[in-house]
């Protein structure tokens, strides 16, 4: 279970961020206001850790506290270093800090990348260990429920396409001096951030909505690794990233009409199947991974054929998906709605591949899977139900008590306080 979880995260979190790290630089989005407020509320002389800091987007806030950041992604950490921040490379399941040394901790958009419940608990416990008594941590994770609709499943893969055109307004570079404190006047750096919301929307997760053709915003449903492996499947083994990025499914057949269908006869590696599904034109159904689960349980594989009903379902599903913004972009929808309609029209025209069709659901899938020359990086997320994170903490981590919960623009935000000394060491 642990190996499969590690492997999934390596392939669909760490390796992806390593590859897409160079594209994050210079295009930074506004800090979530609640996170900013949390940091500004810390007493002068506090020590704050940003666990999973990425390229350090929060590390400049509040010059009166000492901030350090850590992340597992080397290029992102180096980028944060180049902006003048104290950062380390580490695994958040094994934090290299002594017990109780932090006054506050941030965990922004990190926990949702852990592929099992157990690992999510461990990660939060590790942070709790390094928090002092009375100290608080703020955790942000993607929410399953959103204003207009919700993700159908909790475990999803989200594509990232590096070849999307960058927002034309993104010219601001947050270059910082190496010496800490120099060049800052209170929240002076925030001045750099008062730019058009289109440019400030860029996040390490996504390109801006305004320049991204709507068809690109898809995600793919999965089964939780917890539930897949409950079948006691011996078939979960090491997947390969090459297979994931392959344009064609590994075992492909054509029926008499030339329509493609996916054969499951490859020995049932869960993650390989994920990849073949992404490449398949015909198999985007609501509970697409139901068949994966069957396979894992040793049942005979079903063949997906390109019949009309499946197609109708897939078209509507894809259209549904593509119109639903992802959690980290939702907050800025209002600001840029006007701009989007202006810009998107032009941008879409420019970036449309000849094969792409906006109306055609199949076309959408093709676009995503087979965009010319581009590799697709699928990032794994476990999106959280209402109350899930709070419950996770209250039921499993005695050291912490949840003080606040709220839904902040499609993210669950939880603030928890250390109320008890850690009893069990994680290792």
């Amino acid at each position: 279970m642990e190996d499969a979880a590690c492997q999934l995260e390596r392939d669909h979190v760490h390796n992806v961020y390593e590859k897409i790290a160079p594209f994050f630089n210079d295009n930074r989005y506004k800090a979530w206001p609640k996170v900013r407020k949390f940091l500004l509320e810390q007493e002068p002389g506090s020590i704050v850790a940003d666990v999973g800091c990425g390229n350090g987007k929060y590390l400049h806030i509040n010059e009166n506290v000492f901030k350090l950041g850590c992340d597992i992604c080397r290029p992102l950490v180096e980028s944060a270093w180049n902006q003048g921040h104290e950062v380390q490379l580490c695994d958040s399941l094994r934090l290299p800090y002594r017990d109780g040394c932090f006054d506050a901790i941030l965990s922004i958009a990190v926990i949702h990348h852990f592929s099992t419940k157990e690992r999510r608990i461990r990660a939060i416990k590790e942070m709790a260990r390094t928090l002092r008594m009375g100290g608080r941590m703020m955790i942000y994770v993607w929410a399953m429920e959103q204003k207009r609709r919700k993700f159908e499943k909790q475990d999803i893969f989200v594509p990232w396409n590096p070849n999307l055109p960058c927002c034309p307004n993104c010219d601001q570079t947050l270059s910082r001096y190496r010496a800490q404190g120099e060049g800052l006047q209170g929240d002076g750096t925030d001045k750099h951030r008062k730019v058009k919301s289109t440019s400030s929307m860029l996040d390490r997760e996504e390109s801006p909505v305004s320049t991204q053709p709507r068809m690109q915003r898809l995600w793919f449903f999965s089964r939780s690794l917890d539930s897949v492996l409950d079948f006691g499947s011996p078939t979960v083994s090491r997947p390969s990233s090459q297979e994931l990025n392959a344009k064609c499914p590994p075992a492909e057949e054509r029926d008499g009409n030339g329509a493609r269908s996916v054969s499951w006869g490859r020995g049932g590696n869960f993650i390989q199947q994920v990849s073949s599904l992404f490449s398949s034109r015909s198999s985007l159904e609501e509970d697409i991974f139901g068949s994966v689960t069957d396979l894992c349980a040793g049942l005979s594989p079903k063949k997906k054929s390109n019949d009309g009903s499946a197609m109708t379902q897939s078209v509507s599903l894809v259209q549904e998906c593509s119109s639903m913004p992802l959690p980290d972009l939702v907050s800025y929808q209002k600001d840029i709605q006007l701009e989007e309609s202006e810009i998107a029209g032009n941008q879409c025209q420019e970036s449309i591949h000849p094969q792409q069709k906006l109306e055609d659901g199949t076309g959408c899938v093709e676009t995503c899977c087979e965009s010319e020359g581009s590799e697709r990086f699928m990032r794994y997320y476990h999106v959280f139900r209402h109350g899930e994170l709070t419950e996770l903490i209250e039921n499993n981590i005695e050291e912490l008590h949840v003080m606040q919960t709220c839904l902040d623009h499609a993210n669950w935000c939880v603030v928890a306080e250390k109320v008890k000394a850690c009893i069990n060491k994680p290792f």
Binding site: P44, N64, F66, Q88, C90, D91, P96, R98, Q180, G181
Partner: protein
């Protein structure tokens, strides 16, 4: 890596019980000017493991005037606060490594960033 950061870092190799403080072996050290904020330093001092701080400063040849124990009523002692500020925030290890006092395992520091990632067998 500043010495304030170093003061928080510990070896977390499996089985190690005394992984703190890490021994600094520096091959490149830089000193930058950092704006002095007396309140910041004053509040930071109680959070430090002072002996680890002194040991690290000494190892880097930057002990200067720092005492082996914190002076009483340091909050109003600006000279003392300035001395601490210099060593805590202005001295940076750019290249070198951090050595676990118990296992001897070395964590590299490269381009100012300590790599605290463990191998599979260490975690």
């Amino acid at each position: 890596m500043k010495l304030l950061t170093h003061n928080m870092l510990t070896s977390h190799v499996k089985g190690v019980t005394k992984g703190y403080p890490l021994l600094i072996k520096a091959t490149e050290v830089k000193v930058n000017e950092v704006e002095f904020n007396p309140q910041f330093i004053s509040r930071m001092i109680p959070k430090l493991e002072w002996s680890a701080f002194i040991q690290a400063a000494e190892g880097l040849g930057h002990l200067q005037n720092l005492p082996s124990t914190v002076v009483p009523e340091f909050e109003n002692n600006e000279d003392f606060l300035r001395d601490v500020h210099k060593v805590l925030l202005e001295v940076e290890v750019i290249e070198g490594c951090l050595q676990c006092p118990e296992s001897g395992r070395e964590f590299p520091i490269s381009r100012g960033v300590p790599n605290m990632l463990l191998n599979e067998d260490e975690s």
